[in-house]
Amino acid sequence: MDDDIVKEVLVESHENLDQLDRDFVALEADPTARGQIAGIFRTIHTIKGTSGFLGFSGLESLTHVAENLLSQLREGTRLLDADIVTALLQTVDAVREMLASIEATGTDGQRDDSALIARLARLQGKGDDHAAHKQASHRPAPAVPAPAPAPAAAHVASPAPMPKSKELAPPEVTATAVSDTSVRVDVGLLDRLMNLVGELVLARNQILQFGSTVKDGAFHGTSQRLNLLTTELQEGVMKTRMQPIGNVWSKFPRVVRDLAVTCGKQVRIEMEGEDTELDRTIIEAIKDPLTHAVRNSIDHGIERPEVRVAAGKPAQGRLFLRAFHEGGQVNIEISDDGGGIDPIKVRDRAVARGLVPADRAQRMSERELVSLVFLPGFSTAEKVTNVSGRGVGMDVVKTNIERIGGTVELTSRHGFGTSLRVKIPLTLAIIPALVVTTRSERYAIPQVNLLELVRIEPKAAARAVESIHGVPVFRLRGNLLPLVYLGAALELGGPGTAPDGSLCIVVLSADDRTFGLVVDGVHDTEEIVVKPLGKELKGLTAFAGATIMGDGKVALILDVLGIAQRANVVSSSKDRKREGADTDLAPGTEDKQALLLVRVGADMRMAIPLAMVARLEELPRRGVERAGRHQVVQYREQLLPLVDVATVVGASAAVQGDADAPLQVVVHARNGRRVGLVVEQIVDIVEDFVRIERPFAQRGIVGATVVEGRVTNLLDVEGVIDACDPSLSAA
C-alpha cells in the first residue's frame, strides 16, 4: 500500500474528527441544525469510503452503522438526543483510536467494537439479534428526545465501552481551512528554520558591532540592509510558527461536555479571542496546563445544578475562556461562575496536610490563602475523583507556565467564582533585552520587566540616594523606589556607582512590584537569543538563561524576579510561589519585611508594611474639610479621604499640640484609589524579621510584633479603612 496515501488520509481524517467534536457539541445545543448534521454525515461517509478503499474493515463497519444512523438524523426520521450524541461521540473516539493504530502499526487493530456497533444499530431502531443478545441489560432508547442542552447523567451508566481518549501521538495538524494558497509544512522544518534565524540574528548583531569600528560607506549600507532583512526574516519565520490559541481550545467543548456529564453538572463554555496567536512551542507547553485548569473549573469550581439554583444562580454554569495580547504578552483567562475558593477551607486543608504551620496560616491574607492551592500536594477535592483531586493539580499548572516564563494568578470570590489568569510571552526563542554592565560584565535584562531608565549626573548622584535604616531608596517623581545594587545582589563587591560617578537606575517591575536596579552602565536594547543554562546552574534563580552577544561572548540574562527576591524586594509569598514549599516553610524562617513605624494617639507604637505605603505627606490642618461623613483634604487635584487611625484602634488621644502643626498622613493606594491614614508621628522605617503574635483581638490591628526590641502593633490597613467606611476600601 502506498504509505503516502495512508498518511494523507490520516492527516485529513484527524482534522475532520476535530471538527466533528465541535459539531457534535454545537449540535447538542441546537439539535435541529441540519447543516451540521449534513457536515457530520459527509465526514463519516468520507472516512467510511477511504477505509473501505484501503481495506480497513473494522473501521469501515463501524463508520457504516454510524453513517446509517446519521442518515436518519439528516432525513429527519429520527431526532437527535443526548443518547445518540454520546454514542456518536464514542464512535468518533473509536475511529480516532483506530486511526492512531493505523498510523502506528498499519492496521486498524484487533478491536472489538461490536458493542458500540450494536448500540448504534439499536439507536436507529433495527437492533439485530447478535447485538440484542449482547445488549440485554441495556435500557431501551428513549422514545422522546431528551431536552437537548441538558446532558443526562444517565450516560455514565451506558455499557458501551468507553474508549480511552489516549491518542497515540497523532500528527499535529493546524485546523485552519486548507485552501489553494497554503501548503503544509513539517513543524520540524519550521523549528530548524527558527534555529537558523536565531543564529543569523547573532551573526547580524556581530556584523553591526563590527560596523561601528569600520569607516566604509559601502559596508555600512550593506550591513544596514542585512539588518533590515534579518529583522524581516525573523518576523516572517516567527509568524509561520504562530498558531491561534483556538487550536488548543477547540478540544475544550468536548472535554467540558464529557466532564460535565460525568460530574452531573451543566456547563456552558464561552470563548473570546480564539484567534490570538502564539508561538507553537508555547501552544504545546500550555496545552496541558490549560486543560487541567478547565477540568479543575468544572470539577471543583462549578457547583451541581441544585446547589447553584439554591444559591440563586442559573442551573447551568458558565466557563469563560478569554485570550488577548497585551504589552508583548499573551493573557489567557479561565474563569467560572462557580463556588469560588473558600479561603478558610484552603487554610485548614493546607494546615492539615502540613504544608503551612498553623500560626503562619492564621495571619495570611485571603489572597495568600487562595494562592496556597499552588503548593505541591494540595488538593481541595473532598474525595479523589477520576477527574482531578489527586493532589497533582495547580502546582503542576503553575510550574509548567512558569517554565516558559509565564505567570499565573488566581483570583477568587467565595461563592461567586474563580478566575485564573495566565500571562505568557509570545515567543521564547528571541526576546528584546536591555544590555547593562556591572563590574565590566554584561548582563541582559528582558524588556518585559523594564519600566524606565534613570541616570543621575555625578554631581547629583551622592544626594539622590537616601537611606532608610540602611535600605537605599530613590525618590522617583515623589514615590520611594527601593534600590538594588546589581553588583551587591550578585555578590561581586566593589563600589555602588558607575566609574564616572553617575548613577544608572534601571526601573524594573517584578510581580507587580517596582524597584530600581543600579548598574554601572546601560547599553542598547538588543534582540537576544535565549539559551538555557546547564543543569549545574539551574539552581541559580538570579539568571533566566544566557545569550551570545554581538562579539561572540556569552552574557547572562537576569531573572528580574529572582534578583528582586534575592534583594528582598518582593514579599515572601512570592518566594514561596517560586521556590516551592520546602525551602520557605522550613521551621524558623521568618520574613524580613520593611515596616513603617508610626506613633498613633498619645503612645501607641504601630507598624505598617512599607508595601502598603504609597507616600508620606505632611498636610496643613487647615486644609481638612468635610465631605459627607468624611474628613477630606484636597490632594493632587483629588479629594483624599482621611481616616484617623487613633479613633479606629481606640488609642488614647494625643495631647493637643500646636494647631498649626501639619497633619502626618500615610497615603495608601489601591486600585487607583487613595486613602490617607492620619497618624501622630512618623517614627522610622525599619527592615526586620516579623514574627506576629496575636495576644488579643482588636479592631484595626493584625497582631503584635517586636520591632527593634519594642512591642509594636501591626496595623491592619484594609481593616482600618473598612471600619471607617467599607466603601473606601477597594475590595
Binding site: 550578585l490 555578590e491 546547564g534 549545574e536 538570579a542 539568571f543 551570545i548
Partner: protein, 145 residues
C-alpha cells in the same frame, strides 16, 4: 585482555584521564563569562560555536590548590547526558590505551568529594593515573533542586 582508550591531562602535577569516547573536543583557552553566585567550581561560560557551555575548574572540583602558572588552562569538552561541559585542566596529555589488569578501585582513604568522581586508578609505569567519571563532575547536590 580488555583495554580502553583514555584522554589524559594534568592537574597540579598529577595525571588524570577520561574515557575518550566521552570527549567531544579539546580546545584552547576561551573567552570566559563568569557566573556570579554559582558554585566555586563553575569557572564560567564559554561560547562553543553558538552553544553555551559551562566550564568546570577541575582543580577546584578536586580540591587541588588554585592554578598559579602563567600557562592558560585547556578546555576538555565532554559530552554528558545533560549536554556538553568543559573541563578546565592545566595541560593536555596523550590519548593512551590502558588494560584492565592495571586497574584498581580507588582507595577508601580518598576524600569524599574526590572519591565520588574518581572511578579508579590505573597503575602505569612510573606514575598513577586517576580515571574520572564525566557524569559525576557536577555533584548531585550542586544541581537544581
Amino acid at each position: 585482555m580488555a583495554t580502553r582508550q583514555l584522554c589524559t591531562f594534568q592537574l597540579a602535577g598529577a595525571s588524570f584521564g577520561v574515557d575518550v569516547t566521552h570527549v567531544q573536543e579539546v580546545i584552547r583557552e576561551q573567552e570566559m563569562t563568569r557566573v556570579p553566585l554559582a558554585p566555586p567550581m563553575i569557572y564560567g561560560l564559554i561560547n562553543l560555536r553558538g552553544q553555551i557551555v559551562s566550564a568546570i575548574d577541575m582543580r577546584t572540583r578536586l580540591g587541588l590548590p588554585p592554578r598559579t602558572s602563567e600557562t592558560p588552562p585547556m578546555n576538555v569538552v565532554v559530552r554528558t547526558d545533560e549536554g556538553a561541559m568543559s573541563l578546565l585542566v592545566d595541560q593536555i596529555g596523550d590519548v593512551i590505551e590502558v588494560g584492565d589488569e592495571a586497574f584498581e578501585r580507588p582507595p577508601e582513604t580518598l576524600d569524599v568529594a574526590t572519591k565520588d568522581l574518581v572511578q579508579g586508578v590505573y597503575k602505569l609505569e612510573g606514575h598513577l593515573l586517576l580515571l574520572l567519571d564525566t557524569a559525576r563532575v557536577v555533584p548531585t547536590t550542586e544541581r537544581a533542586s
